[in-house]
């Protein structure tokens, strides 16, 4: 009986993980990244001349609410041609595939209603805003 309970528990954990992953269509998210982001951020997200380096870093923005909001309000996200569902999916994919270890393993996925609300106030001075945000979120790194 105890063995059965253990198996059921394991199955529950596995199905919860599968459900979380199912909310991302990885092929569609990668394609949207390639078509809408890769041109500037390049394939692995390391950016370039004047383009932010996201590889292994972008997930740090999830450490504060303002940082999380910035990821949706930044012009590349907020003004993209994607609908809210696909934008949320793309952001989640970027956090996992590009953010790598900078992204907390238990981060709360972006949802379509959250994205809809946040992209309604896009940033106009994104560069300056990011500078101030980085100073606030990571005072040591900004020094």
């Amino acid at each position: 009986m105890k063995c059965l309970v253990l198996i059921l528990l394991i199955l529950q954990v596995v199905s919860a993980e599968v459900a979380a992953n199912q909310s991302i269509n990885a092929k569609r998210a990668k394609f949207n990244y390639q078509i809408l982001c890769q041109g500037c951020h390049v394939g692995d997200g390391r950016g370039g001349k004047g383009v932010p380096h996201m590889k292994g870093r972008v997930g740090y923005f999830l450490s504060g609410q303002k940082g999380r909001e910035y990821l949706v309000r930044v012009p590349g996200s907020a003004n993209s041609a994607l609908d809210n569902v696909e934008l949320a999916e793309l952001l989640n994919w970027v956090m996992i595939e590009i953010g790598k270890k900078s992204t907390p393993a238990d981060f709360a996925y972006f949802t379509a209603p959250e994205v809809e609300r946040l992209r309604a106030s896009p940033l106009f001075e994104a560069k300056e805003y990011r500078k101030q945000l980085v100073k606030k979120l990571f005072p040591l790194a900004a020094q």
Binding site: C3, R28, F31, Q34, I35, Q38, G39, K49, V51
Partner: protein, 170 residues
Amino acid sequence: MKMLDKLFEKSARSIAQTSSRRGLLKSLGAVLVGGAAIPLLPVARASDSPQYPQDVGDPSSCDYWRYCAVDGFLCECCGGSYNSCPPGTEMSPITWIGTCRNPVDGRNYVISYNDCCGKTQCGSCLCQRDEGDRPIYRSDKSNDVNWCLGATSSVYHCSTAVVVGVAFEK
């Protein structure tokens, strides 16, 4: 701990009582031979999706399938190739990206039109097909942008057409 001992002892005894060594060898053999044969079945091979397309056509011609969204001089005619820059130029990492249909397999591929920069315009094989090109107000989807802005030198020489993936079919 005692419970685990009992559990394993019980399951080991039960296996020992209901199976034979020959039976085990037989099953193991079947799994090994059967497992090795699975990749040979046509259904398994058909499910493999090639990441890179089969090629057809002349890369120095504007009609070549990868150039469906290009606007510029073809590096193939300038001492480079469709996926490499001519000597003395630098490939801009920042680029414009579109999709083109491969006539052999009928699939759409994601093409990165990286510009080669650092020398004056090549002047050979001008090609302007512009599929999917959008006005400059959608700068990420416009091929009128000088993408050499991402390179050390912003002087444009020619354009490549590098396949970077398979398009997602909605």
